[in-house]
Every structure is written in structure tokens, then in C-alpha cells.
Symmetry: C2
Subunit: 205 residues, 2 copies
């Protein structure tokens, strides 16, 4: 593309750094911004800067938070003896959306992935072990591993299991299986295989 | 979506104002920004603000420009007696990409669209008439209408034709027809019909 302005070109280059945004989409975004009011653009720019400068990580669970302790960790209604270990904030939002979970979280900030250069010390793994070991203000009875069903997720789950097993805490993992409402023929072989291996006594509901 | 942070929520709300961006994409963008370096975020914010505060419109053709006169209008290599009328900067880029056009442009900033509240005075129509009438520094010999092939584009083209015809300038429109490389069976009826109506003497190349 032959963009007639350096200022526009720079904005397009910057917007292309966003995930999944190519040159055409970046140009559309930039021209939209150009035609917005000065106030709107200022609010957009301020909100992006605030992400970097005002957003914090919860001191306990490392979830993104506006405060030192996130609303979930600060809530007196949540069970403090159960910790759900997840990859990132999107996972927290996904679990929260189910309305099924009343415990706390531990956000690793990724999964172990040597190919992407993500090692053990890039993640909140030590702080998870410390959290279980510390047992304050209440001991952790169960750690639920809710990590992605990928090789990296499985590796991370195994590493955590090895670290936590000696501490005597119960370590569980979320079930893998055929999605609710799905036909068996549409499930991939690995998922269906794991679903059969993890079969459980039938319960009439 | 239950976003755990007001700062994150605000950024998502702002990013959703971009064209075609829904809540999920906005969250992906926001989390990407959050995990970028402070320098990167500053550059992104600055480039967006520059779009609003530093980008100008060319005084002659109204294309987006960093300078009072855009590089096309300022170029001594372009023919100044031919003016191509287009809807927006994307159209200029599309025509420039063909490498077939050596004249100047006139960017309307839209097309007449009563439904969207875009009237005659919201567009650079008077300035086009003035430009043809003024005939300085060189008279305009031909105005090429390269507007979208929609009802709004056709209405705008007709309005311009009515304004310019009394001034004795030659007014032409880009050809509509079956795309190069396309089979007739895949062209829509309107396009194929217009393509037959606009047939021209065959030239062996």
C-alpha cells in the first residue's frame, strides 16, 4: 500500500502490532481514528496508557486488578481453601462466566513453552508453591489445574503436580471430554479417547 | 464478559469503537497492549494522537497529507489539467496502486447519502466546482469521476456532472464492467448489463 502520509503510515505500523491486525485493517482503524473527535481519540489513547501505567496484578492471585488485592481475592464470599490454577486473565473470566466456582485463583501468566522461550521462572509457579506451603490465613485444601489441553499446558500441569504433591495438598484437574450438546462423531479422537478413559459412574439428574 | 478491572473494561470499551471490533477482539487487543513495553504503548498512543493533531488535508485536493500541499499535488511530474474525483483516501491509494494515472485528485470526503445524513455541504463539492472554474495555474481539461458504483456514488456523480457541465469541462466516468480475469457467469447482472451497454470497438493489442 502506498500511504500518502508519514503520520498515517506510522499509525498503521503501530496498529499492525495488535494481534491479528494486517495492513488493511490497521488502515481502517487509523482512518476511523482520524475521523473521530479529538476527545474520543484522547480517551482511546488515555485508556491504552492506563493499561500500562495504572493496571496492576493482584498480590495474591496475580490476576489483572485495579487494586493491590483483586475483587475475587478480597471477597469474603469466596472459599479460600480452593485455588484454581489458570494460564491467564481470559481463563479466569471463562471460569467466572460458568458461575460454578466459588474458590480463589492463581494466574500463572502463561504456560511452560521452551519454543516460545517461556521457562519456569517466567511464570508465577514459585508463588503458587509458596502460597500452598504458607497456609495463611487458611490452608489450601485443593489445587484445581485448569490449564489448556495442549502439550505446554500438560507439561505445566505435570510440573505443578510434582511441586505440590510432597506438600500433601489435593491436586485435581478439570475434566476433558466431549462438549455438552456435541455429537460423538464431531469430537476429535484425542478428546473422545480421554473422555472414555475418564468415564465416571452414571448419575441420574 | 465479566472483566475483573475497570481500567481494562474502559480500554475494551474504547477499543470497541474501532470498526468491526467486538468485545472479544477488544479484550485481545487490550491484553496485548497490557503485556507490551511502556515504550511500545507510548508510541501507539502518540501515533493515534498524531492522526488527530498533526495530520492535515491537502489544501488543493483534500487528501490526507502531512503538509499543506500533498505530495501528489506538489509533484511537478503530474498532469495538472486532469482531476480524478474520488470518495476518500483509500480510493486515491487504489488508483495510485494501478500506476495508470498521472493527473491530480479531488477527494470529496464521502458521497451524498441522505440516509447517513451526508449532504452536499458535508462534502468537498463546492471546492471542486471552484477549482474547475478558477482555472489556475492551469485550466482543468477533464474531470474523471471515480466514485463507488452504488446508488450514493451514482447520485454524487450526477450532481457533480450537473454542476460542471455548464463550465465546459470534459466530464468522464471510469468504466464499469466484468473484472479482468473473470468469467461472465460470475459477474452480477447489473455489471454485465452495464458492461454490454458500454461496449467499445475491439482493439487488437
Amino acid at each position: 500500500m502506498n500511504i500518502p502520509s508519514d503520520i498515517l503510515q506510522q499509525a498503521v505500523d503501530q496498529l499492525r502490532s495488535l494481534p491479528g491486525v494486517g495492513a488493511r485493517t490497521a488502515l481502517r482503524y487509523a482512518l476511523h481514528v482520524e475521523s473521530s473527535s479529538a476527545d474520543e481519540v484522547q480517551r482511546l489513547a488515555d485508556s491504552l496508557l492506563a493499561l500500562k501505567h495504572s493496571l496492576r496484578h493482584c498480590q495474591l492471585c496475580h490476576n489483572l486488578s485495579d487494586t493491590d488485592l483483586c475483587p475475587i481475592c478480597a471477597s469474603p464470599k469466596r472459599r479460600r481453601d480452593t485455588v484454581c490454577v489458570v494460564e491467564n486473565v481470559q481463563s479466569v473470566m471463562a471460569v467466572e462466566a460458568t458461575g460454578q466456582y466459588q474458590g480463589l485463583y492463581h494466574v500463572l501468566g502463561g504456560v511452560i513453552s521452551p519454543i516460545d522461550g517461556v521457562g519456569i521462572h517466567d511464570l508465577e509457579l514459585d508463588s503458587l508453591v509458596a502460597r500452598v506451603r504458607q497456609a495463611e490465613p487458611e490452608p489450601v485444601a485443593e489445587v484445581i489445574l485448569a490449564l489448556p489441553g495442549t502439550m505446554e499446558g500438560d507439561t505445566t500441569a505435570y510440573y505443578i503436580y510434582r511441586q505440590l504433591a510432597p506438600l500433601g495438598v489435593k491436586v485435581t484437574a478439570i475434566a476433558r471430554g466431549v462438549a455438552v450438546g456435541d455429537n460423538l462423531e464431531y469430537a476429535d479422537e484425542l478428546t473422545l479417547g480421554r473422555s472414555i478413559a475418564s468415564r465416571h459412574p452414571f448419575e441420574a439428574q
